[in-house]
């Protein structure tokens, strides 16, 4: 229950015209949080080049407060999985995710990170990073244009902006606040073990298999 809900939007607009800004701590807090998302400087494949392009002058991700690409997962709160995650790389990606402090977000950028994309026939390709990580946002494309990444970022900011403060993953009241550790796959003789994290991923039920 936010106290700001007592004041309607038209009330606020009226007051703003008179030079009075009415807001709530939650709004200020989320406004700050959503405009200082620090992505991890973590490139995997082709999509990483478009991610770099998004941070360069023409697309300029700095306009959205996310130009501070951090090389250390300890300092980042957004993991952009930009490209094909191979089975050899999957443990590293999960490890990096486990190292990031809460609250953190994960964007699957590009077809490969979503589902394996064009490489899903590959024996060494993980068919989607959502088998191991909780993905907040999917950005389709092969690779997605920098604008698409910016769009994804704006959508993420909207989501952060709506996060109630009391149940935010940062808040001690939020239950599972201590960072959850996700299962780290190990290298097996024929495949990684386990091939997916059953706690967060289940093969979708396929319908329409019997169509002619």
């Amino acid at each position: 229950m936010s106290d700001a809900s007592q004041v309607t939007q038209s009330d606020r607009d009226e007051m703003r015209r008179n030079g009075i800004l009415v807001t709530s701590i939650q709004e200020i807090y989320n406004w700050g949080r959503s405009h200082s998302v620090w992505p991890l400087q973590f490139g995997l494949a082709c999509c990483a080049i478009e991610m770099i392009a998004a941070s360069m002058a023409k697309y300029d991700i700095a306009r959205f407060g996310s130009e501070v690409f951090r090389p250390s997962p300890r300092q980042a709160d957004l993991l952009i999985v930009s490209g094909t995650v191979t089975k050899k790389m999957a443990p590293q990606v999960v490890r990096i995710w486990n190292l990031m402090p809460e609250p953190k977000f994960c964007i699957a950028m590009g077809a490969c990170a979503i589902s394996g994309g064009p490489f899903k026939q590959g024996y060494n390709v993980l068919k989607g990073i959502d088998r191991f990580l909780p993905v907040d946002l999917y950005i389709p494309g092969c690779p997605p244009r920098p604008e698409a990444l910016l769009h994804g970022l704006i959508e993420l900011q909207k989501r952060i902006g709506k996060e109630p403060m009391r149940t935010s993953r940062l808040s001690p009241a939020a239950g599972d606040s201590p960072a959850k550790t996700y299962v780290l796959p190990e290298f097996g003789e024929h495949d990684i073990v386990p091939p997916c994290n059953p706690a967060i991923w289940k093969a979708p039920e396929l319908t329409g298999l019997d169509r002619t």
Binding site: K88, Q121, G122, H190, P195, C196, A203, L206, L209
Partner: protein, 202 residues
């Protein structure tokens, strides 16, 4: 550049008793090759590099080819052609601007007789590429300085570029499966529906 037959004749003149056969290439590229027995391969390779007329100083490309056992019909007689692994080297001369001279070697079979001499001592360029052939095809290179898996992880047991390799079954959930993926998706669904029923019965 001299013809492949001329190169073969000069090799045979230098190394009497060496196994060298010309493999003709049917495509318009006309890149014919020499199949070399593994006994003299290293010496022949060194000779090809040092020979004044050829001076094949660069080994551009090394790759493996898998030839599984197959049935061939020749003159209406069926016979089983045994399988083998083949390694192909594309050699060029940078100083003479010649090439490619293609040489190839074959293993005895695909299971236990898979050792070939490494040509890394002659051309350093083979180092990573022979490791790759070892990793993906399972050819052992005797005399290689650092023969380890290069692309897959060390614990991996299979050789995925072989024709009979079966990949882990993990992409059956695509939204619009077709052809053999559809068949696999159906099979997996049956497995999944069969498993809980068993649990319920027990």
């Amino acid at each position: 550049m001299e013809t492949i037959e001329a190169i073969r004749d000069r090799i045979l003149a230098t190394f009497p008793g060496a196994e060298v056969t010309v493999v003709l290439n049917g495509s318009p590229s006309a890149q014919h090759s020499l199949r070399i027995g593994k006994a003299h391969a290293l010496a022949i390779a060194r000779w090809l590099r040092n020979d004044e007329a050829l001076s094949l100083d660069q080994c551009s490309n090394v790759t493996g080819v898998d030839w599984p056992e197959r049935e061939v019909t020749e003159n209406k007689v069926k016979r089983i052609e045994p399988g083998c692994l083949e390694v192909v080297y594309h050699l060029y001369s940078i100083s003479k601007r010649l090439g490619p001279v293609v040489i190839r070697m074959r293993t005895g079979n695909r299971t236990d007789d898979v050792t070939l001499p490494s040509l890394t001592p002659v051309w350093r360029a083979c180092e990573f590429q022979e490791r790759e052939v070892f990793d993906l095809f399972g050819v052992h290179f005797g005399g290689h300085p650092d023969l380890r898996r290069i692309l897959m992880w060390d614990e991996f047991k299979d050789h995925p570029m072989r024709r009979d390799y079966v990949a882990p079954d993990d992409f059956d959930w695509e939204p619009t499966p077709h052809d053999d993926v559809l068949a696999r998706a159906k099979e997996n669904r049956e497995k999944r529906t069969a498993a809980p029923a068993k649990e319920g019965g027990a």
